[in-house]
């Protein structure tokens, strides 16, 4: 199954693939649209460089037992964002049987021979893509923050942060196809949908041998609104050691609930069990990119900053005028958070009252 020998260029088709995602409710996840738009850009660059038309295919792995109740988004919607074609593979136990997902991806990729496959660096993408890459005997670059086509070689340039975000490495997969990469959700912008543009939806036949014997899903307990992942939040309010005691998170939560924000935390306070691991922001926790990130009592270690530096606006509150976090902030208030945050809460309430 592995292919280590260099393929002839002609062996591969003029296709750029997106491994899309659907949510447990049956709705198509926005990362599918984000990556379809990115794939469109890559495909257009390849078309203009080579003079040959390239096209974008989005693959969706859909649980055949589930119906799309939400009706908010459907497979063909990927067309509005740039996909020419949607392959909707339906089977039982998708997408939770990760090995089966990867075998389907590898099987379809061996049939269609795309040059590039991109996916989101979610729990799903980070499981299925490496499994599929190993089946296809090719390379994979994780957590890219930039993807582009190199003029001349027409290879995929994959840029990713390395060593705690201190350096950016640009990576190529020069001698293997397909070239595979994942990107963190929210890395690329989602364009306005173009309702004129529709995608053809195909339902491929899948051979029986693709499914893992012995994987059964017992249940999926969806998090409540309060347990929502930090990555889905527009605003995150985070606390660190500067809170000085676990109860400090009550103040952080008060501000967060006023803003319908998620509550984040730095690694040390999670390690001290002031708050649970799902709240940890940073390389060893969650990497987030909200519109506004408020860091209170967080000094700003490299590992924390790498987890939030792409936020739209960063506001920090810290007693230490030399705190590293100030260097990556748009607004920095030097002082005691126990004095500042209650005043900020008052100010927000007053502003709401005036409306």
């Amino acid at each position: 199954m592995t292919r280590s020998d260099r393929p002839e260029a002609g062996e591969f088709s003029n296709e750029v693939w997106v491994l899309g995602e659907d949510r447990p409710c049956g709705e198509i996840s926005s990362v599918t649209f984000e990556l379809s738009a990115k794939a469109r850009e890559l495909s257009d660059a390849l078309s203009s460089n080579t003079g040959e038309r390239h096209r974008v295919t989005a693959l969706l792995l859909i649980d055949s037992n589930k119906t799309n109740k939400s009706n908010r988004s459907k497979p063909q919607d990927a067309g509005y964002y740039g996909a020419d074609r949607v392959l909707a593979a339906k089977a039982e136990n998708l997408p939770f049987d990760r090995a089966a997902c990867a075998r389907i991806l590898a099987h379809l990729a061996q049939e269609s021979r795309p040059k590039i496959i991109i996916a989101s660096a979610t729990a799903f993408g980070r499981s299925v893509m490496p499994y599929a890459a190993a089946l296809l005997g090719t390379g994979l670059t994780a957590d890219c923050t930039g993807l582009s086509i190199e003029p001349g070689t027409n290879l995929l340039l994959q840029t990713r942060p390395a060593i705690g975000g201190n350096i950016m490495a640009t990576i190529k997969t020069p001698n293997h196809m397909p070239q595979m990469a994942t990107a963190r959700p929210g890395t690329f912008s989602i364009p306005a949908p173009n309702p004129e543009k529709t995608a053809e939806v195909l339902y491929p036949d899948l051979p029986d041998g693709l499914f893992s014997a012995g994987v059964s899903t017992i249940k999926f307990d969806k998090f409540t609104r309060d347990e929502r992942t930090l990555q889905d939040r527009n605003v995150i309010v985070s606390g660190g050691r500067g809170l000085r005691r676990a109860e400090g998170f009550e103040l952080i939560s008060a501000l967060a609930s006023l803003l319908d924000a998620g509550v984040g935390a730095s690694r040390p306070v999670v390690e001290m069990k002031w708050i649970g691991y799902p709240h940890q922001v940073g390389l060893s926790g969650q990497v987030v990119s909200p519109k506004v990130y408020i860091a209170a009592g967080i000094s700003g270690t490299v590992q924390h900053i790498a987890g939030m530096q792409t936020a739209g606006k960063i506001i920090s509150i810290n007693r230490d005028p030399e705190a590293q976090i100030f260097n990556v902030s748009d607004v920095a208030i030097c002082g005691d958070l126990y004095e500042i945050i209650p005043k900020l809460i008052e100010r927000i309430k007053a502003k709401r009252g005036r409306k």
Partner: protein
């Protein structure tokens, strides 16, 4: 049941440098620790193991990675294997997975492989799933609860939007998050015992790899450029002890929040 764990030795500081020529990390002169999630994986094995089960720890790295295996032995592992060879150096996740999978083939395929979800240095999280693919076995990632059931294991996987409970038959590979257990602490008797234990060594040749089949040359992905980006922003700074500055700062925050349509 035969259980296998991978222990990666990672640098214990944030001070790692890259070799700009080769695009790989310079590990010489930097102290090493066991990748913390790999210790969670080992602890999970210790908790799940029953009488008669074996726990084998495997590491790939320079000779110095022996320290990590010694630590794993002190924590209760019964057998340790070190894959060390210049020919393994600079390998990407695929080249690494190939070597580790071949070791598993050589020692007899384990029933359960537990891996840390990712390492703190490379941070790809790809080696575990790639090994599962090479062995053709089921995979569960981000496991935060692992229990033995009559014909396999039951796991909770903490995903972005909820908790997935699955039953998986053996053999299989799971990757764990730190929430699964508390990091184990070695005992004095464990440490003493570990020093008497043998660490087996394997090389590219003993695993049957030819020249250019491992390491940097066999890696499909190549680092072609390294940049050190500036991530600074120029903050508007306000000193809270001056009440006029505090007022201005709070106004600025409220303005940002309303611009983003949050309030």
């Amino acid at each position: 049941m035969k259980i296998a764990i991978f222990l990666k030795q990672v640098p214990d500081t944030d001070e790692v440098k890259m070799d700009p020529e080769r695009g790989t990390m310079i590990r010489e002169g930097v102290g090493g620790i066991v990748n913390p999630l790999d210790l969670n994986a080992l602890e999970a094995a210790m908790q799940i193991r029953a009488k008669g089960d074996s726990v084998t720890i495997i590491s790939m790295g320079p000779q110095k990675a022996e320290e990590s295996l010694r630590e794993g032995l002190a924590l209760g592992a019964g057998r340790a294997i070190l894959a060390t060879d210049r020919a393994f150096a600079g390998g990407d996740s695929w080249a690494t997975a190939k070597v580790l999978a071949s070791i598993l083939g050589k020692i007899g395929a384990p029933d359960l492989i537990i891996a840390g979800e990712k390492a703190t240095d490379g941070e790809t999280g790809q080696v575990g799933p790639e090994i599962a693919a090479l062995l053709g076995i089921p995979l569960a990632t981000r496991v935060t609860r692992l229990e033995r059931i009559p014909d396999g294991i039951e796991v909770d996987c903490t995903l972005e939007d909820g908790i997935l409970t699955q039953r998986i038959s053996l053999p299989c590979l799971v990757t764990v998050l730190s929430d699964i257990n508390a990091l184990p602490l070695p005992t004095l008797s464990g440490k003493k015992g570990a020093y008497a234990m043998k660490i087996e060594t394997v090389t590219a040749e003993s695993l049957g790899f030819g020249a250019n089949e491992t390491g940097l040359t066999a890696s499909p992905t190549k680092v072609v450029k390294i940049d050190t980006p500036k991530i600074t922003r120029s903050a508007e700074k306000f000193l809270a002890k001056r009440s006029d500055e505090l007022d201005a700062g709070l106004d600025r925050i409220v303005e940002i929040l309303s611009d983003c349509l949050v309030i």
